[in-house]
């Protein structure tokens, strides 16, 4: 190797970062020195190998830009603010983020039952009338993998990165909840709100509380924005209908 060509220069040459005169000097040295040429070729191959490293990586679900009539980023930003406020409130009220008694969360057993039987689940399309959830869930990296319509409730099961699971139950309200209510502990996260005459209940285990609060606030805003949506009503009515008495 010519003593005047340093490793720094050779690397910069490979990266195309040298001024023209200096690059010409390095190129001449490479042409005259086979070992230097071999070193430059090796750096080129390393650069190419790293450059293609992300080409075959499976890309995680990517948030889609807000579409016509859907959840605008500004609204999502408002949800962040709301989530932050709720988190502050939860954090500021002593005892408001307790270890939640299981008996106070009747849906938790259903959520746990789903977790116990959740194997490798493939992504499902959101059912008609529930598309309003898509921007929030997509932006949060949550994919619908379970959908179950029962006589009393509809259960949406979402899967996120690091195997986190989140349940959203939609049912007829048993009591009126004026606004978004959340109880967040490290172990269990729970949110509850009403919209359009239906009760929404969100449950997760071991999910980052900030992320959970953001998703809850986003969904609550989304459900409010669509409470007059005929599609949503039809979907909820279908899930809430009871079998005919014989």
């Amino acid at each position: 190797m010519t003593t005047t060509i340093t490793q720094c220069q050779l690397n910069a040459f490979v990266d195309g970062e040298l001024p023209a005169a200096e690059a010409a000097q390095v190129a001449a040295a490479i042409a005259a020195d086979p070992e230097l040429a071999q070193s430059a070729a090796r750096l080129h191959r390393i650069k190419a190998a790293l450059g293609s490293a992300c080409a075959d990586l499976p890309l995680p679900a990517t948030p889609q830009p807000a579409r016509r009539g859907s959840f605008a980023p500004a609204r999502l930003a408002a949800c962040f603010g709301l989530a932050a406020m709720v988190l502050l409130l939860v954090a500021s009220v002593p005892g408001s983020a307790p270890n939640l008694p299981v008996r106070e969360l009747p849906r938790l057993a259903h959520h746990d039952q789903w977790l116990a039987h959740a194997g490798a689940q493939t992504e499902l399309a959101l059912p008609a009338g529930a598309e309003w959830m898509e921007p929030v869930m997509s932006a949060s990296g949550l994919q619908l993998v379970h959908y179950e319509q029962g006589p009393e409730r509809t259960h949406f099961g979402f899967k996120g990165p690091n195997a986190c699971r989140l349940s959203l139950f939609v049912s007829a309200p048993d009591r009126i909840v004026a606004s978004l209510q959340m109880a967040l502990s490290d172990e269990i996260q729970h949110a509850h709100w009403h919209s359009g005459g239906y009760a929404f209940e969100m449950i997760a285990r071991d999910m980052a509380t900030a992320r959970f609060a953001t998703v809850a606030a986003g969904l609550q805003q989304g459900s409010r924005a669509h409470e007059d949506d005929a599609g949503l009503r039809v979907a909820l009515l279908q899930s809430a209908r009871l079998p005919c008495a014989s």
């Binding site: 720094c8 690397n11 750096l43 190998a49 890309l59 995680p60 990517t62 605008a72 990296g141």
Partner: protein
Amino acid sequence: MLDQTQQALLMQTRRKLFGYACALCEDIGAAEDLYQDTMLRVMTARMMPEESTACRLWLFRIMRNLWIDRLRAEGRLPDFDDNAEVEELAQGQGDDQVVNALAVRQAFGKLSKAHREILALVDICGFSYAEAAEMLDVAPGTIMSRVSRARAALVVKMQDEKNVIALPLRRSARRLGERG
């Protein structure tokens, strides 16, 4: 609010963003989380730089800041200027290695965070030295020496990796070898 140009740029950049996340994080799950959090932050940003280079830098800077916040929360902030002595490669050293993508990627995963980051910015994300310098808030000359040290460290890791079986880069190359 993202306009159409910005949305297009975001879509074009997302693979490199995820590559950068993979380079920064210890495992793929953490990288997915970092990527999602970055996208979420971008989608909810009130303003986004209009000029494409500035916008690209802004995107990666968001990811890097989120990554630093996480490390700080976990109390394991790395030394970003990795000045660890890397033996200067002697002339011709390592040239007998078959440089293939698998070996390079395996060795890359064993580098320090600082070395991974600088190579990710320049080789994976395609930033120029000047752009990387702006992003890391250092002089371009610093980037030049960091890249050199990181690649030297990568070659050393490749030499240390005894268990890597060098695979031919292309099947056709292997077939040609068999015929010969």
